[in-house]
């Protein structure tokens, strides 16, 4: 990469002037004349047969235009799509509205279309549904037990799919072990809670034969293709627009029933329709994340060397698959080696149907689970062998010279220096002194805990079809238009992508416009997820800009009448070697060739280029997080005293944005560790259906985070960037849990399942007179 001026600079965002004035435009702000409003009746039962639906009274309410039910539309809209999965995958039919049976609370049953939202919601109350309850299974472990109620009667049991990965000689590893450390771990269900709930507006213009769908989505192009298929329309008649999107975290990386339903209603009624998800609907009917219960076994030598690891896990996928549901649990298996050399690893996944909302990709998507497993196990091993947690980590790290490093799970880590990130984090946190403080305070009855997480994750999705599209064009005015298929939802790509292009072409950032999120303007794309936007989408743009520069060189050579080898390029200007005054900027070239009629045939008169970049491998960002907590046994309260994070995401385009991603990520991981859990009772009723019951972190829940970086570029792409969208979330959860468990070591605690609520901790401390070395794991 050439010497740059803007890449690596802390530049404030170009997105912000609109947003800070309240002039952003989210889906709910899209207001079209003559719009009808949609409200959805959702199941109050977790599992029931629908005997009848009476919509007569609702239809008669003034202002109601129509009411539709599942039976009426099932032949008009194809079921919801599922991607990925192996040959064992079972896909139950997932209709847009339930037809004769409901399988989870919140499943859509009927939709009211009315003149305004208040009327539509009034009408919901008038729809009478006669249910016949069926036995419910909400616990994933119970769902696997023979004799459990079966949710989808097409199959004999609740297994959604199974997968198995085994590499290395596990038998030998477990035979050679001095000790086998086991632990049961629960990754509770989480709700993504983007502050903007989902929303859809759909409009059909019969004059243009075009259906336009505005959706709060991370993947407008994928959504367009799926909607076309579901509604049996040619793709060129469907346009999807993702306007400003108010956070996603994976929850908007999907194709939802409401998106297809609204598109259908717009076509049917020939009027614009709008649906804005309420928060209660959002917790009931937007995907959840995590939801795994596993048993881990680690075979270790006395010195802390890990010889082998087995993980047997049950993944709770809910009642149906959503778009990427089958792809998430296998990611956990893929990353189970963490940043350690483990010669033999075996993973068995059993994914099960339960009477709950689907799980799917939520920030980290399978990697937080893997990191939690391995990082908790490292601490458990250290505890069992009476070794320091730092020593066990260092013992098992690969050396920086061993990269690309192949794991026993079958991936090749691109580049890394785990020792450097660890030592930097230990130094910043004052680790040695912290241990001394801990000892001193314990003697005073105060419980300080120090927790580490040395994580590695998999990013930049990726090879094998997950390309991204970019286009760069220098317009005749000299202004530059950049198109990207990576449609952001807060990541700031209008800024970071402009930085990349400004550097490449030597033009001012103010002359560059980055366009995304409209399938009619950007011809193709995949989307923003899996920390891929910059490491794949940004690289596509970089490559397109590179092509534009080469085209400009040929044109400059023609216009200046010199060989292209005799041209220098710097600061956006081609000049003749030895005659620096004779030259043209890229912008001047664009202006001149626009009018040029007699260019040689081999020269393309448009200063434009596209690129569809697909990386050869994933990238593997890593780092060390150190968390220091104090636990108050009298109240069970956990106070975070200090948080140090040293992250390595390779080269950095904009440090300000990277800091933002890391901070937000850490706090989301903290939410899982301490507060958050989607709770269903044994009847499949959702007990955490509002933000009063589902606790997300608040500003006063944490101290100032202390951030630093190391920089190990990836060889996978020419910019050397790895991605940073999920690292914070992946790294933080185990660091916090390790810290709390460490604090409670004097109480004989070896493990607590998340979330580490005051109630759980208090109960545990109260039971301190009980024998020590007890593990408090949630038994169901």
């Amino acid at each position: 990469m050439p010497v740059s001026k803007l890449v690596g600079a802390r530049i404030k965002r170009r997105e912000d002037p609109q947003l800070i004035r309240g002039a952003g435009r989210y889906v709910d702000d899209v207001s079209l004349p003559d719009t009808l409003h949609v409200a959805i009746l959702r199941s109050s039962h977790a599992h029931a047969t629908i005997k009848s639906i009476d919509t007569d009274a609702a239809r008669q309410l003034p202002g109601v235009v129509t009411v539709v039910t599942g039976a009426e539309i099932k032949d008009q809209i194809a079921p919801l799509p599922v991607s990925g999965g192996n040959e064992t995958l079972r896909v139950p039919r997932h209709d847009v509205l339930a037809v004769d049976k409901v399988c989870h609370v919140g499943q859509g049953i009927a939709a009211v279309v009315a003149d305004d939202r208040y009327m539509a919601e009034d009408a919901l109350d008038l729809i009478r549904v006669e249910y016949e309850s069926l036995p419910v299974v909400s616990d994933p472990e119970k769902a696997l037990v023979p004799g459990s109620p079966v949710i989808h009667s097409e199959w004999p049991d609740n297994v959604a799919f199974r997968s198995e990965q085994k590499q290395g000689d596990l038998t030998k590893a477990f035979k050679a072990a001095d000790k086998i450390v086991t632990q049961r771990l629960v990754h509770q269900r989480l709700a993504p809670i983007a502050i903007e709930p989902r929303g859809v507006v759909a409009q059909y213009l019969s004059s243009d034969n075009e259906l336009t769908v505005w959706s709060s989505t991370q993947i407008p192009h994928m959504l367009k293709s799926h909607l076309a298929k579901m509604l049996k329309l040619p793709e060129n008649q469907v346009r999807v627009i993702a306007p400003d999107v108010g956070g996603g975290f994976g929850s908007k990386l999907n194709v939802y029933a409401e998106e297809a339903l609204l598109a259908y209603l717009a076509l049917k009624l020939n009027r614009p329709v709008k649906w804005s998800e309420g928060r209660r609907e959002n917790i009931q009917a937007t995907i959840h994340g995590r939801g795994q219960v596993g048993e881990v076994e680690a075979a270790v030598k006395k010195d802390g060397t890990i010889l082998g690891l087995k993980y047997k896990v049950i993944a709770d996928i809910g009642a149906y698959h959503q778009l990427f549901t089958p792809a998430i649990p296998p990611f956990t298996g893929l990353m189970l080696s963490g940043c350690y050399k483990i010669p033999a690893i075996g993973v068995e996944v059993a994914a099960v149907f339960t009477n709950k909302m689907s799980t799917d990709a939520y920030r980290g998507a399978g990697r937080p689970e893997a990191t939690y497993v391995i990082e908790r196990m490292i601490d458990r091993v250290a505890q069992e062998l009476n070794l320091d947690v730092v020593k066990v980590r260092k013992k098992n790290f690969p050396k920086p010279t061993e990269f690309p490093f192949k794991t026993a799970t079958g991936v090749a880590y691109d580049s890394g220096n785990y020792q450097l990130a660890l030592s930097k984090a230990l130094k910043r946190s004052g680790y040695e002194k912290l241990r001394r403080d801990q000892k001193r305070l314990r003697s005073q009855g105060r419980y300080l805990g120090i927790g580490l997480s040395t994580y590695v994750e998999i990013c930049a999705m990726g090879p094998k079809g997950m390309w991204e599209y970019g286009k760069v064009e220098v317009e005749p005015t000299g202004k530059v238009t950049v198109l990207s298929g990576a449609s952001p939802h807060g990541q700031g790509q209008q800024t970071s992508f402009a930085q990349i292009v400004a550097d490449q072409l030597g033009v001012e950032m103010d002359d560059i416009t980055v366009i995304h999120g409209d399938t009619a303007v950007v011809p193709k794309g995949i989307g923003t997820f899996g920390s891929r936007a910059t490491a794949v989408g940004g690289v596509a743009i970089y490559k397109a800009a590179e092509k534009v520069k080469e085209k400009a060189r040929d044109l400059a050579s023609h216009l200046l009448e010199v060989d292209s080898e005799d041209l220098n390029f710097s600061d956006g200007r081609f000049s003749v070697k030895g005659v620096p005054k004779k030259g043209l900027t890229i912008q001047q070239i664009a202006r001149q060739i626009h009018a040029a009629q007699n260019l040689p045939k081999k020269l393309d008169p448009r200063l434009a280029a596209e690129s569809q970049f697909e990386p050869s491998n994933f990238t593997f960002p890593f780092g060390t997080h150190v968390c220091v907590v104090e636990v108050e046994p009298e109240t069970g309260r956990v106070e975070i005293k200090k948080y140090v994070a040293v992250d390595d995401c390779g080269k950095v385009i904009n440090p300000l944005l990277v800091d933002g991603q890391v901070q937000g990520g850490i706090v989301q991981g903290l939410g899982q560790a301490l507060f958050e859990e989607v709770v269903y009772d044994e009847h499949g009723q959702l007990l955490t259906g509002s933000l009063m019951d589902y606790a997300v972190p608040r500003a006063a829940d944490l101290p100032r985070l202390n951030l630093a970086r190391t920089e190990t570029p990836t060889p996978v792409n020419p910019l050397g960037i790895k991605g940073i969208g999920e690292a914070g979330t992946i790294g933080s959860t185990p660091a916090i849990v390790n810290a709390v468990v460490d604090a409670l070591a004097p109480f004989g605690v070896t493990h607590i399942d998340m979330p580490l609520t005051p109630q759980k901790i208090w109960t545990l401390c109260q039971a301190t007179k009980a024998p020590r070395n007890r593990s408090v794991s949630r038994k169901s």
């Binding site: 800070i20 108010g246 800091d659 509002s690 933000l691 006063a700």
Partner: protein
């Protein structure tokens, strides 16, 4: 469900008087967004928890998703659209921009107005006071640190402005 008679409300919003017939059950946030077209005020939870819908009602920050439009009859409301002076951003807006205090931007209008309320009451808050004042506003993107930085920066900007305008006044007096 019988239709309930509409009621006329007169509400001053961002300095402009508006008078409309509304259903008694219409929420203030829907009045602002759907009747007046001021979509800068966002709806995130409809239960007063997330704070995305925060507006100033007679100089008090309220969550407009749980205030009825009829309750605001005769009141003076300021939304995020009313904070800047024309092209000139409010110091809080400048600071949110400079400190990268927003990512998706959805919580931002409510967050800025809550911070505005804090600074009206306490022009020099400590970090702890800022964090507690923002406790009723959820942000899922930033982890709050850059928001706290922004409020601290705005505090400095505003005290400079106050000092600046005092000096100016003094100068005028001398003349």
């Amino acid at each position: 469900m019988d239709a309930v008679a509409k009621k006329r409300v007169s509400i001053k919003v961002n300095g402009v008087e508006h008078s409309h017939q509304v259903e008694p059950r219409l929420l203030l946030v829907h009045f602002l967004r759907d009747v007046l077209g001021l979509t800068g005020t966002h709806i995130g939870c409809e239960t007063s928890i997330c704070g995305a819908c925060t507006v100033m009602l007679d100089d008090t920050a309220v969550k407009s998703c749980t205030v009825l439009a009829v309750q605001a009859d005769g009141a003076d409301v300021m939304t995020i659209e009313g904070l800047a002076q024309g092209e000139k951003l409010h110091p809080l807006q400048e600071a949110f921009w400079e400190c990268h205090g927003l990512q998706c931007g959805f919580c931002t209008p409510g967050m800025i107005l809550t911070a505005h309320q804090l600074l009206m009451r306490n022009p020099k808050p400590t970090e702890n006071e800022i964090r507690h004042a923002l406790d009723g506003n959820l942000c899922r993107c930033t982890g709050y640190q850059h928001i706290v930085d922004a409020v601290q920066l705005a505090t400095k900007k505003m005290s400079r402005n106050v000092a600046g305008s005092r000096q100016k006044t003094k100068g005028n007096r001398h003349r």
